[in-house]
């Protein structure tokens, strides 16, 4: 009904202290984040919220949705928390590539043979 209902006086540039970049590049949208400590009093409320949300591992994009903040902003906030050791990130397993030929025809064939033997 009212688009301003959930609005708050916070602006994004204040939440990120004026930064729009500088986030850890390895933080992907599906990187899982785990809290390593409890929120401390006097913390920025977004940081505290992230720590509360990430008691169980949660993807960056999910955190962004829960906090109602853009992913870029959440990545900046997460970078802060990672730098201070309050959260850790679990990166998704790398996709198959020549270096990690998980899905190469050879592997697939071996799997097929193994399945047939069952």
């Amino acid at each position: 009904m009212s688009p301003h209902r959930r609005e708050s006086p916070d602006r994004l540039y204040v939440i990120t202290s004026g930064r729009s970049s500088g986030a850890d590049d390895s933080l992907d949208a599906v990187t899982l984040i785990v809290a390593e400590s409890a929120p401390a009093p006097g913390m920025q409320s977004e940081h505290a919220d992230i720590l509360r949300l990430c008691v169980s591992p949660m993807a960056v994009v999910e955190i962004a949705a829960h906090l109602r903040l853009p992913v870029t902003v959440v990545r900046i906030l997460l970078t802060d928390l990672i730098d201070t050791g309050r959260v850790t990130a679990r990166h998704p397993a790398p996709a198959p590539s020549p270096a990690h030929p998980l899905a190469s025809p050879d592997v697939l064939e071996k799997v097929l043979v193994a399945l047939h033997k069952l």
């Binding site: 959930r6 602006r11 540039y13 409890a38 992913v71």
Partner: protein, 465 residues
Amino acid sequence: MTDETPRPRGALPPGSTTPRWLLLLVPLLPVWGWALWATYPDGLAPTLVTGGVALLLILVAALLLGRRDRLIAEHRLQAEGTRAATEAFAEEHLPRLVEQLRAGDSADTVLHRMSSVDDPANAAVLRAVAEEISAAERRRAAAMAACATAAGRVQALTTTMLADLRQMQERYGDGSAGSDILGDLMQLDHTTAQTGRIADSIAILTGARSGRRWGRAIPMESILRGAMSRIGAYQRVRTHNVSSLAVAGFAAEGVIHALAEILDNAAKFSPPTAEVHVHVEEVQAGIAVMVEDGGLVMGEEALRRARLAVRSGLDITTISGTRLGLSVVGQLARRYGLEVSFRSSSRGGTAVVLLLPQRIIKPLPAPTAPRPTTVPDSSAPVPAASPNGPAPTAASANTVSPTGTAPLPRSENGLPMRRRGRTLAAAERTRPVPENTSPPTSAKGFGAFRSAVRGEGPTDSPKET
């Protein structure tokens, strides 16, 4: 009351002077009798005639003098009356006239009420003054209304722009093109927020209301950040806030604006590298917000002037033209019952304490971050992700130790329980970060996911205007 001009003190009633002059003739009578007796047989007639003529002339002179005296007394009386009338005119009629005109009455109404002034000259002066002041009042009111209208339009525009910018930031902040566009949008956002503050200041000084109204209580952290967002040097502001209270919606905008003006002053009047510290403290009377800068110490005279500017915020005539901020603070303080005090700061600069009264303070609304609604493994015997609210979460979160040396909680059968994610996190610490050979996940695809999570209620539909 002022119908009859009072008779001046010591004035004689007219006509009482004439007999006094005639008394002068009394000593002449024996002299005249003696002359008659001395010249009895011969010179009776000439003496009688001479004396009679002299007596007559003296009598005439006495009468004339008496009349002149009466005239003088009359004139004096008149002069006294005029003086009194002028006095009343200057000390009573004119101020009353100005007061009524300032209160908004028309010149004709006020003059009609002042009909007791019967001196035509005074009445003419009164009329001329009334017309002039009335015209000036009309001009002033028109100028104020024009300013207020213009400010209101700018306020509405900036509100729309801020909402639009926020939406754009959300849109482009999700995309892979992220940081550059987001940075530009943030810069625009910042400029717009400052424009909005100026428009708000003009609106408040011209008697209009603030541009925004918040429908719910705003937490102190958001109040501080809202105020910071509206000043240029917000990156120099350091907040120290442990308050868990919020400001009632109707007063939130006023408090944000007053705080923004105080912060702006603090940032402007301190060196460009100095930090401005904001401490929030819950006190008996409400919430005290102390803004400390590291700038110049304000002298006694400057402090006095600042206090005066805050106190006389309503009086637009005392505004110096360049220092609008404190007058705005004064206006807002009067409207919402805030108390503003100045003192020198322990940091070397000036400290401004803004005291928010109890009646505009509310407890903090529901936790800002919603709990995770989906618990992936509900059979896990760990209460960490229970959606019961923040209290058990905070308690259980306390058991997570960053060092990993804390004893693990035990389950009913005495076996140690591992917290989900801990092992993973520990493994992550030892594992080298994989080289990023894969293309990064496109964030664009998650837009739908995010909006689905957000779209819990119908109120979160995008802005339609």
